[in-house]
């Protein structure tokens, strides 16, 4: 599963790249979604053990994957979703007030 870690790195970098280059506000928010999902993927990868069973112990298993990162992942997902929702609401608000989605035109605050 070494590829998975590389994928995490790629996704993280991709998210960063999106955030720092794309001009469209929605794209930026999407970059955050990618970034967040990469972290969650990392969490799940951390929890995984080869040959492990899912941590729902309806009968005894020999190897069980680590439940803590999964719990953390759940929390992180919820937090990420809330933040995304707030961001999108603010994006809509900005569009209604500025009439644009271009980041570079949000320049009322300067100096």
């Amino acid at each position: 599963m070494e590829l998975a870690y590389v994928v995490v790195i790629i996704l993280l970098s991709l998210g960063m790249y999106t955030i720092i280059t794309k001009k469209n506000l929605i794209k930026i928010v999407m970059g955050f979604t990618i970034l967040e999902s990469s972290l969650i993927l990392l969490l799940i990868l951390v929890s995984y053990k080869p040959g492990g069973a899912a941590p729902i112990l309806d009968k005894p298993y020999e190897i069980v994957v680590d439940p803590i990162p999964q719990a953390l992942a759940l929390t992180a997902i919820v937090i990420g979703a809330s933040v995304t929702a707030v961001m999108l609401a603010v994006v809509i608000k900005i569009y209604k007030r500025y009439g644009t989605l271009n980041v570079d035109e949000l320049r009322k605050l300067r100096g």
Partner: protein, 518 residues
């Protein structure tokens, strides 16, 4: 423990209470007079210790020099408060009290921490006096405050260096950070190059404020210099240059207050020379000169203040009302003039001759002579305008009694010291072994004054002239402009583009990673 400084500060707080005018007068008088009495009865050698943070502070430490200085400060305080009590509002009066109190505390302070704190308190209170005094002084106050705080901060930095080098905060021997203390004292003393705040502040501020400021601001610097930086011979030449510069500038002024301000620079030059010689005589001479200078310069400022009060302007022409219309003021002015010119039997004479006695090098002796000569010349101009030039300015109102009271009080003291110069020595508990009314001293003392009269008569055309172009160059404004421009450029970089900010952030992350990993 009641010290005069804290007494004054208490008075300031009392004055902030909502009281009517009568009680205000009573409080002011009680505080000032009380401070004078307390100062008088302070015993040299007394000190008081206080634990603060991890230091042991000495907020009060009395010795001979500080007692004399404190005494004259208290006297000046009494006179100045009496002089200005009718004119200024209660809030400004309270600030003046804080100012005087902190100046007194600085004089009696026994460690660098206390010194710095009250030094800055002086700065703050005086700045606010200037800022709040009238409408035209806002920018002046801004400038003044910045200069003074720069000086204060260099005291602070010197203190830190000293503390880290020696591990204590005692006031006696400075080992590290001498340049910074020098810078601080230079700003306070209005050395040439650092003098720009003085004429500006003293001429723009209302006259009653100027009176108070002129008593303390530079003099505290002198006193601190005498403690911290005595015996650095090279400074004597700097003082000389400063004084000569002040002379030239003072001769070119048309306004009485500016003239007096520049003349402060000259007088401070005397004190610098005295201190930097470093001998007992030199320092004692400097302190005595400080006392004398406070007396006659305050009187002169007060006199000009009366003129301003009565006529509304401070050009030299307006001094013409002296002579007959305001007799008390005129007499005081004359006495002060004679004192400042170093005429025997007047007070300036004794300290000047003491300093001259202490000076060994011929160049400095000649310089001192030149300074006396210049001083006489300047004040001859002043006197000429006041008494000899016919003018047709009229009084608009009568001078207040309180003003004349303050004036008269100081004049009496001045005469007293002039006639009996050993008074100061007694107060300081030293015997310098000088006979002031010696023939030699009297001759060397009066010579510059006598020379100045014919020179003034000869060059009257040039001296008494309405100068239009003033020599004025301020490098601090230029420096400030550079700073402001830098700030403007920086501010232009913050143009609201989110991408730029994010780019900065990412770059920071990479730099951080690189720095921490390798």
């Amino acid at each position: 423990m009641i010290t005069p400084g804290f007494l004054y500060i208490t008075g300031a707080i009392l004055l902030l209470l909502p009281v009517n005018d009568r009680i205000k007068y009573i409080i002011s008088f009680l505080i000032t007079a009380g401070a004078l009495i307390v100062t008088f009865y302070l015993i040299p050698g007394y000190s008081f210790q206080l634990d603060f943070l991890k230091f042991t502070l000495v907020p009060v430490k009395v010795d001979n020099a500080s007692k004399l200085t404190g005494l004259i400060f208290a006297v000046g305080g009494l006179a100045a408060v009496i002089y200005s009590i009718k004119l200024c509002s209660r809030f400004i009066l309270s600030l003046i009290f804080v100012f005087i109190g902190s100046a007194l505390t600085v004089v009696f302070s026994g460690d660098l921490f206390t010194l710095y704190v009250f030094w800055e308190l002086m700065t703050i209170s005086s700045s606010f006096i200037i800022i709040m005094a009238s409408d035209v002084t806002k920018k002046t106050g801004y400038y003044y405050c910045l200069m003074q705080v720069a000086g204060g901060l260099s005291v602070l930095w010197g203190t830190f260096l000293q503390y880290s080098a020696t591990g204590n905060l005692s006031l006696n021997a400075i080992e590290a950070g001498i340049p910074f203390f020098m810078l601080a004292v230079a700003i306070k003393l209005a050395f040439v190059g650092f003098h720009t705040w003085l004429p500006l502040a003293y001429s723009k501020a209302p006259f009653y404020v100027t009176v108070v400021l002129s008593i303390y601001t530079t003099k505290v610097g002198v006193y601190i210099m005498s403690i911290l930086l005595s015996g650095i011979n090279i400074l004597a030449y700097a003082g000389l240059i400063s004084a000569l510069f002040g002379m030239v500038m003072a001769l070119r002024q048309n306004h009485a207050l500016k003239l007096l301000s520049y003349s402060i620079i000259i007088q401070v030059g005397y004190m610098i020379i005295g201190i930097s010689i470093g001998t007992e005589k030199g320092i004692a001479g400097a302190i005595f000169h400080l006392v004398n200078h406070i007396l006659y310069k305050t009187v002169l400022f007060m006199a000009v203040g009366v003129v301003i009060y009565t006529t509304g302007k401070d050009t030299l022409e307006n001094l013409g009302i002296m002579g007959r219309k305001i007799p008390v003021t005129s007499i005081a002015t004359l006495v002060a003039f004679l004192g400042i010119a170093g005429v025997p039997f007047f007070n300036g004479y004794m300290s000047k001759s003491l300093i001259k006695e202490a000076v060994q090098e011929p160049l400095l002796t000649w310089g001192l002579n030149l300074m006396s000569f210049g001083t006489s010349l300047i004040f001859l101009k002043f006197i000429y305008y006041a008494f000899f030039k016919n003018s047709n300015v009229n009084l608009t109102k009568k001078p207040a009694i309180s003003m004349q009271l303050g004036l008269g009080f100081l004049t009496v003291l001045m005469l007293l010291i002039g006639i009996h110069p050993y008074l100061l020595e007694n107060l300081m508990n030293t015997d310098l072994g000088i006979h002031y009314f010696d023939k030699k001293h009297m001759l060397s003392g009066i010579q510059p004054f006598l020379w100045s009269i014919p020179v003034f008569l000869l060059l009257k055309k040039y001296v008494v002239k309405n100068y239009v172009r003033l020599l004025y160059f301020d490098m601090y404004r230029k420096m400030a402009k550079i700073l402001v421009t830098t700030g403007y450029q920086l501010s232009n970089y913050h143009d609201g583009k989110l991408h730029k900010y994010l780019l900065w952030a990412t770059s920071t992350l990479i730099i951080l990673l690189v720095l921490l990993m390798f």
